[in-house]
Every structure is written in structure tokens, then in C-alpha cells.
Amino acid sequence: MTPTPIACADKLSKFYGPTRAVEDCTLEVYPGEVLGLLGPNGAGKTTLLRLWMGFLRPSGGQARVQGLDCWTQRRQVHQRLAYLPGEVRLFGPMTGKAVLELLSGLHPRGRLSLALHLAQMWQLDLTVRVDRASSGMRQKLALAYVCSVDVPLVLLDEPTSSLDPDARAEVLQYVRHLRDQGRAVVFSSHVLSEVERVSDRVAILHQGRLRCVETVERLRRRRLLVVRLQEEAFPDRLPEQVRLVRQEPGCWHLEVPQVDRQVLNWLAQWPVQHLEVSSLGLEELYHRVVEDRKR
């Protein structure tokens, strides 16, 4: 049985005049998964998250959370999600503790004790005013609140951008903990290794369009074959599961979902001199998607 998505974008678009920030995006997020959202600057990641938040009115299509329309039923939607914005500024003149008290108090599912516990775990000084705290401290403070709210969906827009390596590791660990609790997390980031580490699926946006959605497990199984030939040869037809990534004189770069008998039998037809097999990885996929579109 197909699980019911907790959030979905259905042919979702957002235009600013001639600029197409998000175009025709269809995507689903399921409970108990971390969806990594990738894309270069201006790809539309933040716009997509803000459409789910109901901050922006869609130009076309619909964003929904648990079946509720994110624009017309914002208030009900916000009872079901927590959101970390890309640039965390919070409330300048307030202390960290006052911010946690305010936000946890205003959200019916806010849990102040957990927020304070997370702040302590992440070594935050809650007596410092927000406008005197470093950007990393502000981000940790915001994360302490967002992660403490008892909601089924958490939207994180570049949650580790200002954090040191230790804090990043702790946050990633907590994101996995949220997933293990059955919550859905949308994790937008530029750091490919982080996304690969924490996500169950990745979605790559480029120029406002959703270019690729792939599970990390399948991604890990995908292989890149570099095949060097004794003579120049050109395959007139490739097997269904084989994709030609690049072709140079006497050398093919092929992508396969896995190296199986069928692939090896096909390769055996050719005068192969040298064969390299490597994992495709998210980085390769990301660059391929982005570079392909640039070309």
C-alpha cells in the first residue's frame, strides 16, 4: 500500500513577472523520511518551502499539507509544521530564553522544556540577547525551537549554514532522530555530503524546475563505468538500463543502476581494455543534472 504523503506540491508554480521562481513542480513528502532539497542559488528551494508555508500565493498549482491548502488554510497548516527560515534573525532585543518562551508559548504544540533541553545540549547561553549572539548561536537557538515543536512536518531551509562541524553533526543526528520518530523533514542545503548523509530521498531543483527525485539508496547502488577500448568504437544502441554520460575517443562513461550480468554481457561484445567501476554518488548526480541543464 502506498503511504499517504504528508505534504505535496501539485504542478506548483510561482512567477514574479517574467521570473519563474518555481515552475510546474510536483513532489510528495512522506512521514518518516528526510527529503533533501538541492539546487544552486536561485533554483527555487526557498520559494518552494515558502509556498508550503503559505507565505507566497501560488501562481499555479497547489501546495498541500495533510490535504490542507497551504495558501487558503494557512492557520491549520501551521498547526502541523515547523519551519526554520534560511536566514535566522529572530527577535533582536530578546534573550534566547525569552525567544524560546515566546515561540513555544504561542504554538499550541510547542514544548518549552524540550526546547530548553536542546539549547542546553547544544551549549547555548540563553541569557544573551539575540542581536548580540553570533549567527551560529542564533541558528542553534532557532533549531532548538523548531525541533522541539511536536508536529508531523519540519521544513529546514539550510539549517547548518552557520554552524561549526561539531554542531552540524549534532544537528544532523537530531534530524535523523526526528525521522525515526515518524516525522517528515524537508532539508534544504547546498552541502551535498550532508544531504546524502541525512536524507532518504533527494530532489534537485534547477531554474525553478524539479529536475530529479531519487532515493539515496538507489543512488548509492548506481554505478559509473569508465570503459576504455582498444580501438575507437561507437555503440549504436545501448541497453535500456545503461545511460551514456560522456563519450571521448576510445573511452565511454556509462551510468548503470547496478552492475549485473546483462551489463557485463553487453560489455563483453566490445574490445574493452580497461574498466573502472565507481559509485555514482549524489555529487556526480547533482553536477550531471545541473550541467546537463546548463548545456
Binding site: 508555508m53 507565505f55 492557520r75 501551521h78 527560515p85 534573525r89 527577535f91 515561540l103 504561542l106
Partner: protein, 272 residues
């Protein structure tokens, strides 16, 4: 109703609001004290000799009335300090309804909560209107205390209450104007610039209407409805207060409803 949200908005106004109430109360008290030091009889001598002062045209009430304690004290309500403090507070808070917190990145935190935009808007505006009332009340209490302290038996503090109400009407309209520019805006500095420009133009029109032969200019400025000193000397001050203040409040109401409508429907971009 989300009382925590109302309390948050209330406390956001509290610092500058309390300071402004204090300034207005003290200023009104000091003005009464200064009036007690002036021998108004000398002014009466000028008037009897038929000497006209050069700035008479700009005064809201005839010089004969200025020569009385009640007339002199009523001028406080049009003093530049009072109008400036009240207007500055109204513009500062009005610009901080949408474009201010949006600019600072606070609004997205509040609106990410299960709080409707209308609820947030109502809490901001509702608490600010009460604080504007406190500002006018602070001024009136300062006057009342001064009148009692300096034993002005011929002055009635209650008779000056319509002036306080008229000041509240003006501050409400200025606040609504700032909210009107803030609701569709993204940057607070632009909101402040736009409101300041409108305010200055309206003020110039008021001065022109009073000093020039073009009296009809008073109809082109909301300051035309701000006559607190004049109304307390009329036969029916409360009626005049209603005639002048109700349009100010209605205008503010229209602007606020429009602003709320815009705010509920607008996009909220990420802070720049």
C-alpha cells in the same frame, strides 16, 4: 483570541509608549506651570491698545482667548512638542506592523505559528490604538495635575478633555497612514520615508490654509480636522469634538481595513 499574541504586541509598544506618555504628561504639567508664571494681564494691555502681533494669523484661537489661562493652556494641545511626540510614536509603531518586522526577519517567525494574519494584524493595531489613547490621556492627566497643583480656579481640566480626544483622533489617522504604507511594503525605511513625505506635505497645507487667503486648503489636509485649542472655546465643545474627531477616526478605520485586506493577501518574501 490569542492572548499571548496580544500580550506580545502590547509589550512591543510598552517601552516607547511609556516614555512618550511620560514626556507628554511632564510637558503638559510644565506648560501649566509656565502659564502660572506669565502675567496674562500684559497681553490684555496689548490687545486694548490694538497692537496686533505678527503671528496672530497662525494662532488657532483669537488673541482675546489666548489672554485667558484656559486659552493659554489649551494651546498646549497644538504645541509642536506634543504633536511631534504623538506623531513620531504613531509613525514608528505603524511602520512596525508589517514592513518593520518583515524587514527584520521577525514576521516569518510569528506567521509560521498557527496564527492567522488577520489575528496578528488585529493584535498589533488594537494594542497600538489603546497606547495612542494612553498618550492623549497622559497629556490630559499632566494638564489636570498642573491645574490642580497651581490652583487655577478658572480652568476646568474636564473642559480640555475634547482637545485630548481630538489629539487621539489625529494620532490614530497618522498611525493608520503608517500602517497603510507598511502593509504592502518590504522595507521599513521606505515606509518611514513615504509617511514622512505625506505628513510634511499635509502640514504645509495646514500652515498655508491658516496664513494665506486660500482657506479652502484646510479641506485638503487631515490637519484641517485637528483643532483642539479652538474646540474647547466653543459653546458646545463636545459636539465640535465629534464633528472634527469622528472623520479622523473614520478615515483611520478605512485605512486600517484596507491595510488589513492588503496584508492578508500579499506575498511575504524572505527578508533581504
Amino acid at each position: 483570541m490569542n492572548w499571548r499574541l496580544w500580550w506580545y504586541c502590547w509589550t512591543r509598544h510598552a517601552g516607547s509608549g511609556t516614555a512618550s506618555v511620560g514626556v507628554l504628561a511632564v510637558f503638559h504639567f510644565l506648560f501649566v506651570w509656565m502659564t502660572s508664571l506669565v502675567d496674562l494681564g500684559y497681553l490684555g494691555v496689548f490687545l486694548r491698545l490694538g497692537i496686533r502681533l505678527p503671528l496672530q494669523g497662525i494662532l488657532p484661537i483669537p488673541l482675546e482667548q489666548v489672554a485667558t489661562p484656559q486659552g493659554m493652556i489649551s494651546l498646549t494641545w497644538m504645541d509642536a512638542v506634543v504633536v511631534l511626540v504623538v506623531s513620531a510614536w504613531a509613525v514608528a509603531r505603524g511602520s512596525d506592523v508589517v514592513s518593520g518586522p518583515l524587514d527584520r526577519g521577525e514576521l516569518e517567525w510569528l506567521l509560521a505559528l498557527p496564527v492567522s494574519r488577520l489575528e496578528y494584524f488585529a493584535a498589533q493595531v488594537g494594542t497600538a490604538l489603546v497606547w495612542l489613547g494612553k498618550l492623549a490621556l497622559g497629556g490630559w492627566l499632566g494638564t489636570a495635575l498642573g491645574v490642580w497643583w497651581f490652583e487655577f480656579s478658572e480652568v476646568s481640566a474636564l473642559a480640555l478633555a475634547p482637545a485630548a480626544l481630538n489629539l487621539w483622533g489625529l494620532s490614530t489617522l497618522v498611525y493608520a497612514l503608517a500602517v497603510g504604507f507598511s502593509a504592502p511594503g518590504r522595507y521599513r525605511r521606505r515606509t518611514l520615508g513615504a509617511v514622512a513625505a505625506v505628513y510634511v506635505v499635509q502640514l504645509i497645507l495646514k500652515v498655508l490654509a491658516r496664513m494665506s487667503p486660500w482657506k479652502w486648503l484646510a479641506w485638503t489636509t487631515f490637519f484641517g480636522l485637528f483643532e483642539p485649542a479652538w474646540m474647547v472655546h466653543q459653546a458646545q465643545p463636545w459636539k465640535e469634538c465629534a464633528v472634527y474627531t469622528v472623520p479622523l477616526v473614520l478615515g483611520a478605520g478605512v485605512l486600517l481595513v484596507w491595510s488589513g485586506w492588503v496584508f492578508v493577501r500579499r506575498d511575504l518574501p524572505a527578508p533581504a
